[in-house]
């Protein structure tokens, strides 16, 4: 990756972030509902007290001034204070972020580790029973409403069979001093395999629910690109070289077939991160998605603004990663 390309990418971030911030601000301006009103709820206050509260939250200033202030502070890494939590937004988001990232990554891994072998096998055994079943499976995967599937899983494994916990990230007998804040990693670093399994048992259902549509998509992409690759001359040539089938498939074919899979996976990871509020709600997962949705409903503007910015940065970053992976897998492309 050349420096120029890197800088170009960074510059690309600017219009995206500005645009996203502007959209958020316009939406906030146009959205009815008053955070102070919500905060007070069913209680009696005098108009003066209400005004004082509004002033404390900085809501008394005109919209444009607030936008400017937000941008100015955000550049310095200050995203303001959450109305609801009365703490810096960055801190509140940072607490919820590891759970969301961990869930997304595990979902991604689940998706990759099931989609790629299944896609490759389906391509190799094209039109076989296995291929048909995998295709039907992947169609089911994209046809199931995620939350419904999640609830069904929950009913089956947590309620009827009672072999997996209903909700949460880890049990209460597993006290783990955080290192990375990713529980699956921390439990291992702390030498607590029992806690690791506990955390794993908590994450498995939400990760499957979240990863299912992606698994289905990746499987289809892998299958299609694998079929495409298997038609290439270099596969015939590799065969003519008398290489083993194993080497032809997993070295010659897969490395090329993975190029579209990896690009799609990197992009889809963005939708995993931005789309898991539903899974988080169903499984009581303490992640950022749920927090953002709750924040919208209580008009906790600073948090919404910062979270959306975070998502936008992640999006650009993931595109960037997709580019890099693309180069790694595909030596023909120079960044």
């Amino acid at each position: 990756m050349s420096l120029a390309r890197f800088i170009e990418r960074l510059l690309q971030l600017i219009p995206v972030l500005l645009g996203v911030s502007a959209i958020v601000f316009v939406m906030i301006t146009l959205t009815p509902g008053d955070p102070v009103e919500i905060m007070i709820g069913d209680q009696i206050v005098t108009p003066e007290q209400e005004e004082a509260l509004r002033r404390d939250l900085g809501l008394d200033r005109p919209m444009l001034e607030r936008f400017g202030l937000f941008l100015g502070n955000a550049v310095q890494g200050d995203f303001g204070e959450s109305f609801y939590h009365r703490r810096p937004v960055a801190e509140v988001i940072a607490e919820r972020l590891p759970a969301t990232i961990e869930l997304s990554l595990v979902a991604l891994l689940v998706a990759l580790f099931t989609a790629i072998p299944l896609g490759v096998l389906a391509a190799i055994k094209k039109n076989s029973i296995f291929d048909r079943m995998a295709t039907v499976g992947s169609l089911l995967g994209v046809s199931l409403p995620g939350f419904w599937f999640g609830i069904l899983l929950l009913m089956l494994f947590a309620v009827h069979l009672q072999i997996l916990p209903v909700s949460g990230r880890i049990g209460f007998s597993s006290e783990i001093e955080p290192i990375t804040h990713f529980l699956l990693i921390d439990t291992l670093l702390r030498g607590r395999p029992d806690a690791f399994l506990d955390a794993l048992s908590h994450i498995i259902l939400p990760a499957i629910t979240l990863g299912l549509p992606m698994t289905a998509i990746l499987m289809r992409v892998t299958r299609t690109s694998m079929l495409e690759v298997l038609r290439q001359d270099y596969i015939t040539f590799a065969e003519a070289k008398g290489l083993s089938r194993h080497r032809i498939l997993w070295r010659h074919a897969l490395k090329n077939a993975l190029i579209p899979t990896v690009s799609v996976a990197a992009i889809e990871t963005g939708s995993l991160l931005g789309g898991n509020m539903i899974v988080e709600t169903v499984f009581g997962w303490p992640g950022l998605g749920r927090l953002v949705v709750e924040s919208i409903f209580v008009r906790n503007y600073p948090l919404v603004q910062a979270a959306v910015l975070f998502y936008a940065v992640t999006y650009v970053l993931l595109n960037f990663i997709a580019d890099i992976l693309y180069t790694v897998l595909n030596p023909r492309v120079k960044l």
Binding site: I40, R87, R96, F172, S201
Partner: protein
Amino acid sequence: MKTMSRLLAVSVLAMATAAPIANAQDLIVGFTQDAATLDPGNHRNRETETIIRNMFDGILTRDSAMSIQPELAASYTQVSPTVYDFKIREGVKFHDGSNMTAEDVKFTLDRLTREGAMGNDQTSPRKSLLGPIESVEVTDATTVRVTLSEPWPLLPAMLPFQEIVSKNFVETVGTEGMATQANGTGPFKLVDWRKGDSIIMERFDDYYGGADGIQPAGKACVDRAIFKIIPESASRVAALLAGDVHIINELPPFAVEQVKNSQTADVMTVNGTRSFFIAMNLEGETFDDIQVRQAVAHALDKDLIIDRILGGNAASISGILSPDAFGKNTDLPEYSYDPEKARALLAEAGFPDGIEVTMDTTGAFKDTAEAVASLLTRAGINTKVAVGEAAILNEKWRTQGGPKEGDMYFTSWGNGSLDPQGIFVPTHVTNARGNSAGYSSDKVDALLDAAATEVDREKRAAMYQEAEAIANADLPYVYLWVPQDIYGVSKRLSGWQPSPDSRINLHDACLN
């Protein structure tokens, strides 16, 4: 395929070890919402209150019958209509080991009521809860005197919601530090707050024992008390039935039967403090006619809905106040279910063919509102339900005297103190915050105004009863019901009672 089978093996392993999560001494509450902050002075949120009240004690508290008991105060006296003296208990320790003194009490109340006392020029959002407190002084080592700017009988009823913090601690960690650290005098101290997931507390062994008026006094029963956040109601019920949690709040009425029939859990109910009602827009052209409003009242079969949808877990009301509230008028006339009469009233009002109206409500009450709407529709009041966000609907309806659009609003008002001041005033006084109907009655205004500062309980109660009768006749709202709070509890649980003010006090709760 190898990867698949390995994955399967791991998950089977995980399942095998997943079962024994809780220690025998962990009491786990499956709860709807996480605390916003651990700072008792910096929130306006019922759920936060419920959670942190287990780590912080107040000057006063309530027993399960809702009567007020001294907690950190040994006793209190009302010196004059505007002056209260609180005798502060001695030998009470904060979780950090320091002694709680009258200075801490004064500091706490000052922090809540003084402008800019939270630091950074911020004022506590709870200031308005303490009404007209003018000053707080420490008169001797164990006495705190609270002086009001005007008589305010509500003070003792509001104090259980204000928890005492350590002056020294607040000055050390600042308001920022208070948000995530708890140093209270309550029966449990904070172990870990896994944000969005749970709050883990353990027994505070130096606990002074709690209010003398509430037995048994002493240390908490269980080793640890945990609030586990489970927002989905079905998941909460599932967790209870699976034995993952021991208490759940907001058990849906339709799940009561199932929980009761289960081997492991039972149901506990307590009269709630939230009154439901339908606001009718008195400024609108349809509902300015009292006959139309009466038609709505008669068109509604409240008992049916209470029976079928709320599972019988609600008390029907004909005025805004809960049957348990102070000053409740128990002789209010009923608007009986009579769809024919409703049609007749509509016809008299000039709508022989019925009316077309929209009823706003929030998502949580969609079902009930739809049931109400279909009953109204059968009586000629063709009602469409429009679901909206609370944030938007409140802005639309709670205009505080501003112009109002819309026909009807299916809504509610909660009032943990059970004092009419907390519910009657905001919903019925002219241009008050919660006066969604746009009701304005000089008589009611005057009565409520006078009652607010009336120190004689009898007289005060009579004023509210009269006001409720007037409102019942004027019918700005169709008063519906006060649902019970329904809790699911494990059969292993003992010593715990739900409380009408939605507190979950785990001090006396034990697990067998």
